[in-house]
């Protein structure tokens, strides 16, 4: 059992911090960093070393997880479990599995989208070829199972099985969400409303980023059905607020801190709440021109930018102008804010149900509250 005492590494756990109601952005980041260190240690236990395929497989399996990342999913599972009085060592292996699953998804998603960069480096398929990248993703998925089975010894049979069932459900939902989005792309479908977008986001992102982490964290802490249900309501609201903000940041030129290629979502032709709003509110001529631009695929390499077969910089500029002239960023910001506020209310109502068993629990509740703010107000 790994030793991880968050009273040591997390200064907020000292008695003076008991008054904390909500962590600020810096404190949220510090909390994320601390969990990240512990999760990387877990990943070090899970991913084999010293095999014949270190070079061809396991070094690459560690590649994405070792790049700079927030590790939001493990932190959410961790904080939820701790806020409910669960032990850190009980939740860390499962938290690490969520991060491995996320990385498997990112690798396959990057191949599917033809993305060029990820976390300040080339995507895995660009560095090692598409066949290797697909297999590394599959290996990450394969490695998720053993720690979840070892959970039977760590948290008991009943809880371990419920965690496995949650992970099974999560994987299915993620594939369904991805299928929805890929289907739209393949059919060139743009006649979509907010409800379509929100349904896709719920399946593709919210399930594995918010719902599953919160659910497994609560299950491991032994939370009641009632608490799990309430936490899931909060997580669902937070998931849509998170994705809407992610989309806003991608197009918001003002935030130079944001790592992705500028306006990457427009290059990719991603169905965001923003772009769908822009299309709905465009004039017929603008809409026709926008759809023509969106029908052209993104240049597959940096060198092919400028080739008329692909989307051009002019196309992307036109789409961005349309987004601005239709006030679509503002619309999405409002929708995101509305959900973040409801998430905040939902968490406040939930707070009395959380059952802190000591001083250390307050910081975890404060992290969940801080995260609810952060998800919506973050600039990267």
């Amino acid at each position: 059992m790994p030793e991880f005492d968050d009273r040591k590494v997390w200064p907020g756990a000292n008695p003076a911090a008991q008054t904390l109601g909500c962590l600020n952005a810096d404190e949220v980041s510090a909390y994320l960093d601390d969990v990240r260190v512990a999760v990387l240690q877990e990943i070090e236990h899970i991913v084999p070393r010293g095999t014949r395929v270190d070079r061809d497989l396991y070094d690459l399996v560690r590649d994405y997880p070792l790049r700079p990342a927030k590790m939001l999913r493990p932190a959410l599972a961790f904080a939820t479990c701790r806020a409910l009085g669960g032990h850190p060592a009980a939740v860390l292996p499962t938290a690490a599995v969520l991060e491995l699953y996320h990385n498997a998804f990112l690798i396959h998603d990057d191949v599917e989208d033809g993305s060029l960069s990820r976390r300040d480096g080339p995507t895995l398929h660009r560095a090692h070829g598409m066949p290797v990248a697909i297999n590394v993703g599959d290996a990450l998925l394969a490695l998720c199972l053993k720690p979840l089975l070892d959970n039977t010894k760590l948290i008991g049979l009943g809880r371990a099985l419920r965690v496995l069932a949650a992970v099974a459900e999560m994987s299915r939902h993620t594939a369904e969400g991805q299928a929805m989005e890929l289907g739209w792309i393949q059919r060139g479908e743009w006649d979509l409303g907010d409800a379509d977008y929100l349904r896709m986001v719920h399946q593709k992102t919210t399930w594995y980023t918010f719902l599953a982490p919160v659910t497994v964290g609560a299950l491991i802490a032994g939370a009641s059905e009632r608490v799990v249900t309430r936490l899931r309501c909060w997580a669902t609201l937070l998931g849509s607020a998170f994705q809407i903000q992610d989309d806003v940041l991608n197009l918001d030129g003002a935030s130079a801190a944001y790592g992705k290629e500028a306006a990457g979502d427009l290059w990719e032709g991603k169905r965001t709440m923003i772009l769908l709003h822009a299309l709905r509110n465009a004039s017929p001529a603008e809409r026709a021109r926008a759809l023509a631009a969106l029908a052209r695929p993104r240049p597959p390499t940096l060198e092919s930018v400028g080739d008329p077969a692909w989307k051009s910089e002019e196309d992307v500029r036109f789409l961005l102008d349309l987004v601005h002239s239709t006030y679509s960023l503002e619309y999405a910001r409002g929708e995101g804010r509305r959900r973040a506020v409801r998430a905040q209310e939902s968490l406040e109502q939930l707070a009395p149900l959380l059952d802190p068993t000591g001083a250390a629990d307050h910081v975890h509740v404060a992290f969940l509250a801080g995260l609810t703010q952060y998800v919506h107000t973050r600039s990267h």
Copy 2:
């Protein structure tokens, strides 16, 4: 619990068949067909229908499994379990999961290899695009978990957990074997011996095609550790015999019955025991020319055959001639035969350990014996 009475569907289960020691090829095929019908029913229960993503996901999830296939893996799990006195309904969900896993692997492998056809149809990525194919593979993997968790109710907690652990180990080995092969391809490595080939085959194919099915079949029947170990020895020998025969059939022009593109392994540049033997026994000039031919990738589409950037028909003809002049097919046939004979001996020694509880069990042992012959002598 699905109803499947193999005394009804399998005529060999009548008392007259008790004298059967080893099914012949036709009887093996009939046994495979019967299991296939039951497994397809299971798959029908596992893969959702009537969802919003039927068209974009679940119809495609069913595509490969519904194409003509032997369903060797489920049959092996089924026969092993039945030969040890296990109930058909106890093993069928797990047998179906092995088939789903196999299909996930095939879809991703086809993308990784750039294969054009599979089971008398276009590969999934050729029909629906690479992004969709990757996601359909991921969905198949996601769907494997629930039936394995439902096993706790069907076969008890202990056995269900052991089956899950076997599946976890299987997935890891398969990814490792795939990584070995992809590493060789990526580095253009041809300086490989039989031991390298056999190690790769053990990880990539034997594990999920023979070892895992036999292991889970035995676990579900409640076999002793000793029986499981002996079965695994047999399965390991059978696995290499199977893959060697698969490679032989791919290059053996005489067998027109074989479905794949003629000499597909040479077009692909697959590291087979045959080709490695040919390279080892070629003259320096032949070896140099062969390596140059193998360095050229396979034409990515049927239309690009003839373009000098890709492997040419002349290249493949040269490689095939080299295989023949070095007697490499004969060498591989001999190596395959040697392993099949050892597998046969291993099964004969094992037979007394199998514990038939009634007349129906004999046919399953006879299938395992027949399969041991069939794997090596089959012509497709």
